[in-house]
């Protein structure tokens, strides 16, 4: 009740695969128990091969999205190259830690392929403590359910299509047991030559 981290609801998950990564989120935006919109994508494109997912207070998600856009544009102009996912993870971390004593109420996850096309995933807490996981990361109001699903479904060295199937099952399974997440989902599988984006239908309750 009146906890601003769970006010809007929503969940994100990322899986590492073999030469690919997947990142997925639900589409609900709520105000406590009331669903306001069901088109709220929580995953944002950072570069062609790096994506950022943010859950928590929707207002801060929007604020940080523009903050990151500014910082990324500055990075591109200074460095004249695209940012690496790992570098971006540190950018996210330091941006969040700047507000250590009055934080943004979001928890981000990052998924991408670096310039050598090696998969990379990371997560952080609301003040930017990074977690470089080698299997999967989860965030949002269904995070405990996502942990249970992912721990059971994830396996190493999955190809793009298998990775899509297992991350989708993990997300949909968790969404059905979380009242604050759901109303559809979007899954993105990042491979060296393309990003496969699919919208999933899910229960509307």
């Amino acid at each position: 009740m009146s906890d601003i981290t769970t006010l809007n609801g929503g969940s994100c998950i990322a899986f590492k695969g073999k030469n690919c990564v997947a990142i997925a989120c639900d589409l609900r935006l709520g105000n406590q128990a009331l669903t306001v919109a069901c088109n709220r994508d929580k995953v944002f494109k950072i570069t062609d091969k790096t994506y950022l997912g943010m859950t928590g207070l929707a207002s801060d998600v929007d604020t940080l999205r523009s903050a990151f856009r500014y910082r990324l544009n500055m990075y591109r102009m200074k460095e004249e190259r695209e940012i690496e996912p790992e570098t971006f993870a540190h950018l996210v971390s330091s941006t969040l830690y700047e507000k250590r004593f009055g934080p943004y109420f979001i928890e981000p996850i990052i998924a991408g392929l670096n310039s050598n096309n090696e998969p990379f995933i990371a997560a952080a807490d609301l003040i930017g403590c990074l977690n470089f996981a080698k299997d999967f990361v989860v965030t949002g109001t269904a995070s405990d359910k996502l942990f249970g699903m992912a721990e059971g479904l994830w396996e190493p060295d999955l190809g793009p299509e298998e990775l899509f199937e297992s991350i989708s099952q993990a997300l949909l399974g968790a969404l059905e047991r979380d009242a604050l997440s759901g109303w559809g989902a979007i899954v993105r599988v990042i491979t060296p030559d393309k990003v496969i984006e699919r919208t999933l239908q899910s229960r509307q309750d």
Partner: protein, 194 residues
Amino acid sequence: MECSFGITGKGYTIIASDSNAARSIVKMKTDEDKQKVLSDHLVMTYSGESGDTLQFSEYIERNLRLYGIRNHVELRPRAAASWIRAQIADSLRTRNAYQVNLLLGGFDLPTSEPALYWVDYLGTLATVPFAAHGYGAFFALSTLDRYHRPDMSLEEGLDLLRRCINELKTRFIVDLGTFKVRVVDREGVREVKL
């Protein structure tokens, strides 16, 4: 007890808000216009803490006017919504944040698309086909879910709005009185009687 609605349809956006001004349990006024016409193709409804609403909506109104004068072009609905959201989000982390909830209804000329944005006092911005603020949301959203179509004609859209208001009349304990309704389309903003 304040309540506002927004509905998009084929080539238009309808914006409606109740016209009560209340202090505690007392109705002070029944013909209050809780909307601001921000530009030729953009209207905003506002509700929330009474001092904040007027202060904030006038601040928004004058700044968007200033932008129009300086640049000889009005902000498009999406851009205006983003800027307004940023103003609320910035104020949120100050000592006295603006407690205002907004609906922004517009018509984007370059794409010929209607636009509707739901904004709350936290700075949450949602792009939606239909929206409601206040207790009205609990009564009307299910009706809107059931009957709304993106290709509705204006008359169908107004009928849907009537259904929502009728729901409040029958089931909501407070009498919200008459609603102020404005329509935004290619021709601009105009007030309509229900």
